[in-house]
Symmetry: D3
Subunit: 283 residues, 6 copies
């Protein structure tokens, strides 16, 4: 008898019961304002991982030595944003209630809202560390409240003032920056300046880490719907993630906005896949 | 003083007041089940028209001799399907109430629903002639009622049995074909067999012509979200459209599902643009 | 507890024990003489099948009503042709010895040799029906005997004169055509002329059907390493396959030479996937 | 000592002295009105020929049995149309004065003018057989007389009424068609209807055969600056060329308008290369 | 009645009369020596601007607060370089005579010559600050004087010694560098070293700022005809432009050499569009 | 009589007899584990060189002042690794025995093995300086000993401990790093730290310099089979190469792993071509 060969993220084909981390994909991009395609992001990350080693020379650790379960992609109701967010919420909630860490691969950034809701219910006092090129703080986008351009504003609806910590922001409209400056969220423009201080201040709190990969410079990460010139380098992002993971209690995380149709050379999928490996090893 | 040079569809930069036909784009693709990108379709059709002549050697007519107004693309609330359909409906309604023919460029096929609603309110007894590879007759797609896979079923909700006439259908699930076979819609598979008879039977009725360009063979029209091998040729589609326009009273129409990101060579945009010119001249 | 979602060919996620047909991929292209990339063919066929319906309006049959097991892709020793062919041979042999029909997705055409060897051992008197643009009858290619340009010559080494029946051939060097004309193989150039006669003559014999998809016209199937202008249409190929499957005893088959990196629009993967569905239903 | 390996068109690396046909490239596209890139056409045809056989199963002839010299690409003064046309003229003139047949690979269609001038000087009474999607009969394009949209009009300046015979034309502005209809040139729209009669009428005259490959349907030949839906098939073009070459005295010819940057799948370069082989064998 | 929606550069749809800056496109690339396509640059910059915010977090300014008029693209006589340069000259002259600042979007770099001529007529003593990877100082290119490889030499013909200040140059032939070293122009290789000193020295003079975007590293700006490894970063270019605009009297400027067909991922168009926004805000 | 125009690497069309350096291509990629296509690398480097100047502003030297012979690409037996390596070996041996320096353009990295063998026979005590992202130290890859993932291990088989000096390594499996750490090879991770010391220590020894271009960051060099985020910059690589060439006795070298099908924007070919020019001038 033959077995199925199964394309999980490399080194993540273990059992659910034993796993500490559960990886899953949220293939959704219906609210993307510019170029769509992020729905294919999680699949590309998983596939591209086949070209990676399980070993990290950055951390001297190996995926074979930890226990991750990749549950594959969710089947989402493309076209109905609320149903999609409910599916994400339910999946994350199941993982959290089983005492595991949900690690979501987007999809567009809006999917974060479903997972943050689940995490905030289990972990009152949750803080979000948010790496992104865009502030995502609009109250609505052309009248739509559930948009990837509003996701952090919707998370603020859940968590309130002072619980969202943004880094790398280099795009937004005037109102978003003014709203942030009123103290609703903390916001570092362009890079990771002051990340160390933030990490010190958040010790002991439960942390949701959300990484919009378009924080990277488009030269290193072209494959995203809205590339913004002037971003951070891959190694900077890696170090920032290591800082967060080594010092804080990350209870859930996500990596999003890889859009394979915008990634003609494939280097964005490769970078996203490598970053996922490193983040899995750092958690 | 300098004037603006304005990229309307070629030969369609006339005045609204004088125009008999009003062209507009509906840049929406949020319910697309497979590869998104149709939101950029109308813009590509308009741009590619710059490489066309205004003269048709097929009809010996020239766009310069008729009067069309291109109102550009609608600004749509990406992410909220109902708001989008309302915008389409309102725009088509305005055009119809001004005694003009609305000619919509998609976008995904769901936008047809908004325009059909407007047309059916003005023209009771409206019939739809539907050229497509896909039946689009599902009652829902993963629970979503407003999906491009359900658009003809939603139109049936408005028009009832016997008012939808499909040609070229070569894809659908078993339930769709069985439902069609119960007499709710008339359906010709694979090609335009019997179009002449249908046209004879519909003389005198107001007609909405909706053309999903994926009815074309993928060799001639690769740039669409769900290409289906085994389609009709461009000249067959042209002749079918000429038959409908020359014999029937078309009161509104649309051309949809060009997805420029799937059209790496650009031949699909060129074909869509040429078909639009021919349809404008034939109306 | 969560289950894995598994990307088998659509409708082929059943049990091995119950399956009559076993699908598997042979991701190999190391002997490709021109543009490589066929190693990614089977994966693309499987993935693209997610956009297909399980129902065929051509045959009025549904994959849900038959029993196919997709065993995924073989792990092949890229770089060592003999080891690769041994792996293919062993896999096909296991399937055959379990009384099932092996259905291989290439990969380049050379992989056929491993499966033919397994089939010819179980079924003495095996005949090959070969659909292809290229004769593949060279005795060697630049000194290499195990090359995709020689695969039918190597099959002839196993089966001898009169057991290979080629259709659609439109490329080869002078020696290949002269060698064929000596009666070693039967060969129809350009199309399927005389397929009916061949089928009549082969009734009762065990048949291996090998389909090099580059028999299709490059307009319908651009995504292959060596596209040859002037090929057959998808519907012609479909009908030829229906003729073979409905009249003869096909004991094994393969579909090969889809090269996704050469398929920028994706229509080749879509065609290959649809052809696979139809062939599965016809067998 | 080592020799240089030289990428001539396959089978065309012979001596100049012995050659009956001299192949050369004219890498120019500065007057292209839409998408440029034809400057890379000749190089792509030559390169792609490496994937061809020298043998034609259509004609049962082999390039190894005839004598062709490929002189490579001209070095042209990109940006100065007159200098470019002078270079083409001089090169063609040298070949003609050496008693050989010049076979030019474009580049855009305007380069034909230089070669026609040379051929008409040597062969008074020259007729042009012109296969194309576009009439190319404008007197000027935005004020420019030396434009690829005017090339046949400029040839008419040289040859006068009744010496240009167009086939396959499916695009032009109203004035071009009206001008043609006045009898300046003969013109068959859409296909090769009546080619046999034209060939009969031109027996004995010296013929320049110019093939704008965009006469082909964009499905078979997407890689060109201005693709026009509704073209002829490769096999139709092949047969038309065979008819001309077998019955008439072709003294010079060209094949043009392949634009590799528009040919993402490479099938256009492959078709152009194969057509070049067949035309070389048919001459 | 419906209005036209018009795709100007974002935030630049104001009135001509009130505007201080007039944006226009010069879609020309006929003298491009390597890969053409820059003719589509201005259109891509305008289109891509729709994905930008009008607000700059770099300068804390908003396009909504200044007054820019986008007059669209010029209609240029592709194929006749002199006519093209005359059109550019006339357009720039009109803008200058109306007391406004012309801001040209290329097109290839040669179009700068037309605008410089107009600016130098109005502003005697004009200096050019030139950011580029290539020296563009050849006296001719293959005999052609009006070539993008010669544009700065032609500007020197107009302005004489000491009026051209080059930065970032990393490519040229030996003669260009030797000619520059004779003092005809000042030239900084590789980066912006000494820009501060140049700016100090030019205070009070009228300045034409010309930016060939290929000064950027190809990693950040791949979409150009002749990418040169080893360029400057986007943020360096931004800062250099801020330095020039804040300290000097820029009377005209241009941004050129974006070639969309070479920009498969779209990041070059996004960078060019963002740079244009920043330059508009800095002027 | 006409001469052939021959596409050698720019400035390298001299005579073999006079040449000090002989350039040749090894178009092979059959053991590539991930995305193939490196077989087209040498051809792309040669072609792209046509867009380069022969003059280097980095070194103030000109290819016209040195003597290089480009012997073109080898004809390799795709599919048979041993035959391929023998061809490379024989070609390199001929060049070496004629007292010239072989400069090989890959192809995948495995071709280095053939050239190293030839160089080590002529130069006992040969050391390899190895710039790469990947360690390439596996003993086998899926059972295959002759794989590009094993090439440095195979070179170690020839040269023994202490003769291989790796820089820039940022990927490998745990066993490779552990094996290296045992002292078999010296290995610097991530960058060129300590290159100066290595160069000091190797003075007087014959050196083979092998450059896998994927050492570059994927942002600057996306066009390779296995891009690894976090690489070195082009200018860093250039300086490292200058250091090696100016201080050590390089007797042979190669540049490999450019994969044009993975290089949709063409910047990788441009970078490889420029690096080749610089390396030729530095030797």
């Amino acid at each position: 008898m033959l077995n199925k060969s199964y394309d999980a993220f490399i080194g993540c084909a273990g059992d659910y019961e034993e796993a500490k981390i559960v990886l899953f994909g949220a293939p959704f991009d219906s609210t993307t304002s510019n170029r769509p395609g992020a729905r294919f992001g999680s699949r590309a990350i998983r596939r591209e991982s086949q070209a990676l080693e399980t070993f990290s020379p950055y951390q001297n650790r190996d995926l074979c030595d930890i226990s991750v379960f990749d549950s594959g992609d969710l089947t989402l109701a493309i076209g109905d944003t609320k149903m999609v967010l409910d599916s994400v919420y339910e999946h994350a909630k199941t993982i959290l209630s089983d005492g595991k860490l949900p690690f979501m691969l987007g999809g567009e950034h809006l999917v974060t809202l479903g997972a943050v809701k689940a995490a905030s219910e289990k972990y009152p006092g949750l803080h979000i560390i948010h790496f992104d090129a865009h502030a995502d703080l609009r109250d609505d986008y052309l009248g739509v409240k559930l948009s990837h351009a509003c996701v952090m504003r919707r998370c603020w609806d859940l968590l309130g003032d002072g619980h969202i910590h943004q880094f790398g922001i280099r795009s937004g409209d005037k109102e978003e920056f003014e709203w942030a400056d009123k103290g609703h969220v903390s916001q570092i423009r362009f890079d990771f300046t002051g990340l160390g201080d933030t990490v010190m201040a958040l010790r002991g709190f439960p942390i949701y880490l959300t990484v919009d990969l378009d924080i990277l410079d488009p030269s290193e990460f072209p494959g995203t719907g809205t590339p913004e010139a002037g971003g951070v380098k891959f190694t900077q992002l890696l170090n920032a993630a290591f800082t967060v993971c080594s010092k804080l209690d990350v209870v859930a995380c996500d990596v999003n906005e890889l859009s394979p149709p915008c990634d003609s050379t494939g280097i964005s999928a490769a970078a996203a896949s490598k970053f996922t490996r490193e983040l899995l090893l750092a958690l």
